[in-house]
């Protein structure tokens, strides 16, 4: 009897241990199954301000999806231009992160990524997700959609946060005896003259990259003309050998007469430095630069529409996309992040527009006033013009034009040459 009891106890204990072992195995499996999926991403740290771009949204997402997904960001200290070049390199050598940004600012690269199916079509996910779809502004959705209805660039921003205008230093303006930002281009040039007369460089400009800062001024000025406004709406213009081309070249040449001495052959970061250090009175850029203005300068910096009440905006310029190389689970996490970013932006906008959230920040007040002042929206040249022009021709020819080494006609011929080169590459 005792033997039987002992055997029963041993069997029970063995069974329990076996089951416990199995259960432990099951637990391990289930734990493994719930393992957090890392979604790799590269984001930049602003070289001037040292702030981590998009850090807030990344943190919010990681907190919201803790245990399921994690945006694994590699923070890199490089300019936007360098970042974009790296995207190209990584595409051909491997190592692209799961979520990439700025894609739309590289038109040919974007086209290539679409053609070679390197990025995911987000339209099925967006149209199947009512919450996501409803959170997207129609104008943004339209801008991000291809002609066949596919969506490669996440329509995650709001048009309200994609506008570019002019940041100006109120103190320097005051030193030159200027009380407000000019409302016409004529006043703008006069303003530049006054500033220059007072020994202040009116404009912070650069020539490298896609010559972003001078091109914003130049295209905004161009759109003041009816032909120019139409020209800016064209996708991949067939020629610059027209009034618009001439006007653009002339404006660029004129702009550089009001800039700092170090504006040649440098990128935007130098121009930004010149502005925030008080060496230049104006710089053109988008809403996102508000966060990058150093605290000590915040009280002096104002934001205004371009003369003629114009803002430059293409909501798709943010160009966030999901790379196809990754496993489904990672891509799923990346897509969730894009949706989260869209909703996050909407909330940000709502908070931003609420007066109490704006607080005493003058630049934000200026931005809201500018956006609500029914400005004329001029499309961003970066999403409309060919890559060769942006990435090669402007960088090579603009300094020569400014320095007088190249005539306006020759400059226009080079712009047209870029069109032919681009067509050749297609």
């Amino acid at each position: 009897m005792n033997d039987k009891k002992t055997a029963a106890v041993i069997l029970t204990v063995s069974l329990f241990l076996c089951l416990a072992g199995c259960a432990a195995g099951e637990n391990k499996k289930s734990t493994d199954a719930r393992e957090e999926v890392a979604v790799p991403m590269i984001l930049t740290v602003d070289p001037s301000a040292g702030t981590k771009n998009e850090e807030e949204v990344v943190k919010a997402f990681n907190q919201a999806y803790e245990g399921a997904y994690h945006i694994d960001v590699e923070w890199i200290m490089e300019t936007e231009e360098e970042y974009r070049k790296n995207l190209k390199r990584m595409n051909v050598t491997g190592g692209l992160p799961a979520v990439i940004t700025d894609l739309r600012m590289l038109p040919s690269y974007y086209q290539m990524m679409v053609q070679e199916k390197r990025i995911e079509d987000l339209s099925p996910y967006i149209y199947e997700d009512r919450e996501w779809l409803e959170s997207i502004e129609p104008a943004v959705l339209e801008a991000c959609s291809e002609s066949d209805g596919s969506i490669y660039l996440a329509p995650l921003s709001t048009a309200a946060f994609s506008c570019s205008g002019v940041f100006w230093n109120e103190e320097l303006f005051r030193q030159a005896g200027i009380q407000e930002f000019p409302k016409t281009w004529e006043d703008f040039w006069n303003c530049c003259e006054k500033l220059k007369a007072h020994g202040i460089a009116p404009l912070a400009l650069h020539t490298k990259g896609t010559a972003w800062a001078p091109m914003l001024f130049a295209t905004a000025e161009l759109s003041a003309f009816p032909e120019g406004a139409e020209f800016m709406k064209q996708l991949f213009p067939e020629s610059y050998d027209n009034f618009c081309g001439l006007q653009l070249a002339a404006t660029l040449k004129l702009l550089f007469t009001y800039t700092t001495e170090d504006a040649m052959h440098v990128d935007f970061d130098v121009a930004f430095d010149n502005f925030v250090s008080g060496r230049a009175a104006m710089i053109s850029n988008g809403y996102w630069m508000i966060d990058q203005i150093p605290d000590e300068l915040e009280g002096n910096v104002r934001f205004s529409v371009f003369p003629g009440n114009r803002l430059i905006s293409s909501p798709e310029t943010f160009g966030w996309a999901v790379v196809s190389d990754y496993e489904e689970e990672v891509k799923k996490g990346a897509i969730k992040f894009l949706k989260f970013r869209t909703l996050f932006n909407q909330k940000e906008k709502a908070a931003f527009w609420a007066e109490e959230a704006v607080g005493k920040n003058q630049m934000m007040k200026d931005y809201i006033e500018a956006y609500d002042g029914k400005p004329q929206i001029v499309p961003n040249y970066q999403v409309k013009w060919n890559s060769v022009l942006q990435e090669e021709t402007l960088g090579e020819c603009l300094p020569r034009l400014v320095n007088g080494e190249m005539s306006v006609e020759e400059f226009i011929r080079m712009l047209d040459e870029s069109i032919r080169q681009y067509e050749d590459e297609l």
């Binding site: 590289l106 086209q111 070679e116 080169q421």
Partner: protein, 591 residues
């Protein structure tokens, strides 16, 4: 027993000890063998496991290096330009051709870059045309992965050697436009993969090391002298090539011929394996076993020596006892054993000595008894020489007394004659109760003549006196004692009463006298005689002056009837009574 020769208990003790020791050593050697074997194998395999992993990690590094240098090629301005619509001019092509010669990767024996315009860039002497490239089949070698560096083990149809070699291949894509990609192939010489084994150092010389591609093709094999890779081991490695896992994918697996470790390089899918041959695994074991055997032999020798020493501590006194016992002849009691072992053996020796003493004492007693018996028999013979002569003489005296009218003399002679006749009883021990009573009656009559008016007597018999039997001469000594001690203080008025009864199926005889009562002390001492062994009873009254008669009676009763005899003196103010109870009806016990 011969001195020095092992036998008896010692032999058995040694045999069992040796057997037990050998069994223990045998079992422990099995345990030690298995433990040492597993430990040794574990240590050896650990070493090569680490080596294999190290080679695997080196392979990872080598792959990363190949990936890095090909990536540098891809993003090179001229390479990118070669993919653009306009392509390169002649000078740029020459520059590009030379550029590949300076790729920062060792062991490149040949290179071939083909752009998307059918231009082929190789070493100047290679003379590979686009047609050659197409015919070689290399255009279809790359798996189609967008930008992955691939390691391909294939026959060299590109540079015409026809021998199998490792090629590092990769698509070269435009960074800006969706152009047809170019392809780059770097042919690696044997030193490329060989460097992995070299890095492992001298250790690799003892084991089989090899590299297998993802299709199971053996790219490199380096085996120690005399080693033969079994078919089963080869098949197992080939099977592992299909694995999708990476890193250490197999550890310490026993395959025919040895123990196998395999590392899979993730990106290339190549395996690097190490097979530790059995000869290496068991090499050190022989020496260990030899040492072990030596130790065991030493242990056995020591154990035998110690066993001999210890066993002698015990067997020596046993032998001493045995020898003393064997040499005892029954006469010489002087051979005592002296043992001082502080064990139970000392008690055995002491007991033996005591036994010898007891035997000696017993023999003395037996001799004394024999002597007494002989004396008794002699006396009896003497007394039986001529009883008729004694009776005739007594009859003659009786006749003379009658003639002379001497009545008292006549009565006395008659009583004496009856007494003697009954005392002799023709040599028999057992007589009838009647004869015994008659005998004591004759004795009392003689005593009455001798001591006139001293006492009177009564005999009261309730049993059939002619049938019931009793040991003779029991009552006479009791009566004699009664007269001698009981009536010693009186001159007349004494009374003796003899009763014979049947009580509880036991013949009970009592002799009462009304004389001076026996002291309680004497009575107790006499009553204690029943519990004393017969041989010791004589020593109970060493002076032989007192108690001799009683001792005689009790001795004879116990010898005749055994221990079931009751003999007791009862003493009181009225006198002294001696009670004797015999078993059954007083017949002799035939034991």
């Amino acid at each position: 027993m011969t001195k020095g020769k092992i036998s008896g208990i010692q032999k058995k003790y040694l045999s069992y000890t040796l057997a037990l020791l050998i069994l223990a050593l045998f079992l422990s050697s099995i345990g030690v063998w298995f433990y040492m074997r597993s430990s040794m194998i574990s240590v050896i395999v650990d070493k090569y496991e680490f080596m294999n992993e190290k080679m695997g990690i080196s392979m990872d590094i080598l792959y990363d290096k190949s990936d890095e240098v090909t990536a540098e090629c891809i993003i090179d301005d001229n390479v990118q330009k070669s993919l653009r619509a306009r392509g390169l001019d002649g000078v740029e092509k020459n520059v590009l051709r030379k550029y590949f010669a300076y790729i920062d990767l060792s062991n490149i024996s040949q290179y071939c870059y083909v752009d998307n315009k059918e231009n082929v860039y190789t070493k100047s002497y290679s003379q590979v045309s686009y047609e050659d490239f197409t015919k070689s089949g290399f255009a279809d070698l790359l798996s189609g992965e967008y930008s992955k560096t691939e390691w391909i083990w294939t026959k060299d149809t590109l540079f015409g050697t026809g021998k199998e070699a490792l090629f590092v291949g990769r698509y070269v894509r435009s960074m800006d436009y969706a152009h047809k990609p170019g392809m780059i192939f770097l042919k690696m010489d044997e030193g490329f993969l060989g460097s992995l084994v070299k890095e492992a150092g001298d250790q690799s010389g003892e084991v089989a090391v090899g590299i297998v591609d993802e299709n199971g093709e053996f790219c490199m094999e380096e085996y120690p002298q005399g080693f033969y890779m079994t078919k089963a081991a080869r098949e197992r490695i080939t099977e592992l090539a299909k694995s999708s896992r990476s890193g250490v994918i197999l550890n310490r697996e026993r395959v025919p011929g040895g123990i196998l470790q395999v590392y899979r390089q993730k990106e290339s899918g190549m395996l690097i394996f190490t097979l530790v041959p059995n000869t290496v695994l068991y090499n050190g074991l022989d020496q260990i076993l030899l040492v072990l055997a030596g130790i065991y032999l030493l242990v056995i020798i020591l154990a035998v020596g110690v066993s001999l020493y210890i066993s002698r501590i015990f067997t020596k006194p046993i032998q001493k006892i045995s020898s003393a016992m064997e040499s005892f002849d029954g006469k010489d009691f002087s051979h005592k054993i002296e043992l001082h072992t502080n064990t139970e053996l000392d008690k055995i020796g002491h007991s033996y000595n005591e036994m010898l003493g007891n035997i000696e004492q017993l023999l003395v007693e037996i001799k004394n008894q024999e002597r007494e018996l002989r004396t008794s028999e002699l006396n009896m013979l003497i007394s039986q020489i001529n009883p008729h002569f004694l009776y005739n003489t007594l009859d003659t005296i009786y006749m003379l007394a009658r003639f002379n009218g001497e009545e008292t003399t006549m009565k006395m002679i008659q009583a004496l004659s009856r007494y003697l006749r009954l005392s002799l009883s023709k040599g028999r021990d057992i007589v009838t109760v009647g004869d015994e009573l008659e005998n004591v009656k004759s004795y009392m009559q003689i005593q009455q003549i001798r001591n006139e008016d001293l006492f009177r007597y009564e005999i009261h018999c309730e049993v059939k006196a002619g049938e019931r039997q009793i040991l003779k001469l029991i009552l006479q000594p009791l009566v004699e004692n009664a007269i001698k001690y009981g009536f010693c203080d009186i001159l007349e008025g004494g009374f003796i009463r003899i009763e014979v009864k049947e009580i509880s199926d036991r013949l009970t005889v009592s002799v009462f006298n009304n004389g001076t009562p026996m002291s309680r002390k004497v009575a107790d001492k006499l009553n204690a005689l029943g519990g004393i062994p017969v041989p010791e009873m004589k020593q109970y009254f060493p002076d032989k002056q007192h108690g001799y008669g009683v001792v005689n009676i009790i001795t004879r009763l116990r010898l005749k009837y055994g221990e079931d005899v009751r003999f007791e003196y009862e003493t009181g103010e009225e006198g002294t009574r001696c009670v004797i109870q015999l078993p059954k009806n007083g017949e002799e016990k035939n034991e």
